[in-house]
Symmetry: C2
Amino acid sequence: MNVKKTAPPAPDCREQLIAIRDTMVLLSGKWKIQIIGWLLLYGRVRFMDMLRGIEGIAAKMLSKELQELEQNQIVVRTVMPTKPITVEYELTEHGKTLSSVIDAISTWGVTHRKFLFKKS
Amino acid sequence: MNVKKTAPPAPDCREQLIAIRDTMVLLSGKWKIQIIGWLLLYGRVRFMDMLRGIEGIAAKMLSKELQELEQNQIVVRTVMPTKPITVEYELTEHGKTLSSVIDAISTWGVTHRKFLFKKS
DNA sequence: GAAATTAGTTTCCTGCAGGAAATCAGGTTG
DNA sequence: CAACCTGATTTCCTGCAGGAAACTAATTTC
């Protein structure tokens, strides 16, 4: 009976795992992280610019994802009194704190690409 | 015609957005980030311990997600010559570099919780 | 030899995420 | 008034992600 026991689930670690799950629930959906990345890079952006810029996204999806982000206070929606009405989206102060997450993801993507390159 | 033009998609920003997408493809699936978080916290872990510890996951899912992570060289699988055979999983050196991402996600989750608390 | 444990695999089923296209509604242009 | 732009919303459809449960197979314990 000397099967190596791995560590039991410590309660303090649980919290971190819960925090991870909570975050991922907010960021769930195929497009949310890309949308936030876009907003971090460009600041205040019009709906149509995102629709054209984010490759492959459909209007319904963009609209829906933005609504969810707005509900979670990650994004603010502003209707502009322009000729054809335009709507601009930007990150809230709280939304901007997601830059740490997005940066980490983006940076790791570059790291990973280098890793694959070294191998081949 | 003084509609405020938002920034045009600059090619150098594109790269970052692609890196984000690449990372998220690797981490896609309901359980991968939680699994990696678990491995970061506990190091080398047996299959059954994860199955019991990660709340709600089914054997099929755990097996499948681990296989995908192994294919992407995030995780190593080791069969141990124990009495009932056991299999241990751990992060590769490359997999461990994901800690920057997981930490950011975990930390933000805590930040977000505080943010919600302040509001209420 | 029955029961249990480990690590899966297989099958079957379902919901919903997400895509395509049409529609709407307000405003401007020609 | 027809055409076009904006920012959606609605409908319809499909695939596949993911869950539950049963089964395999090797080894050990009782």
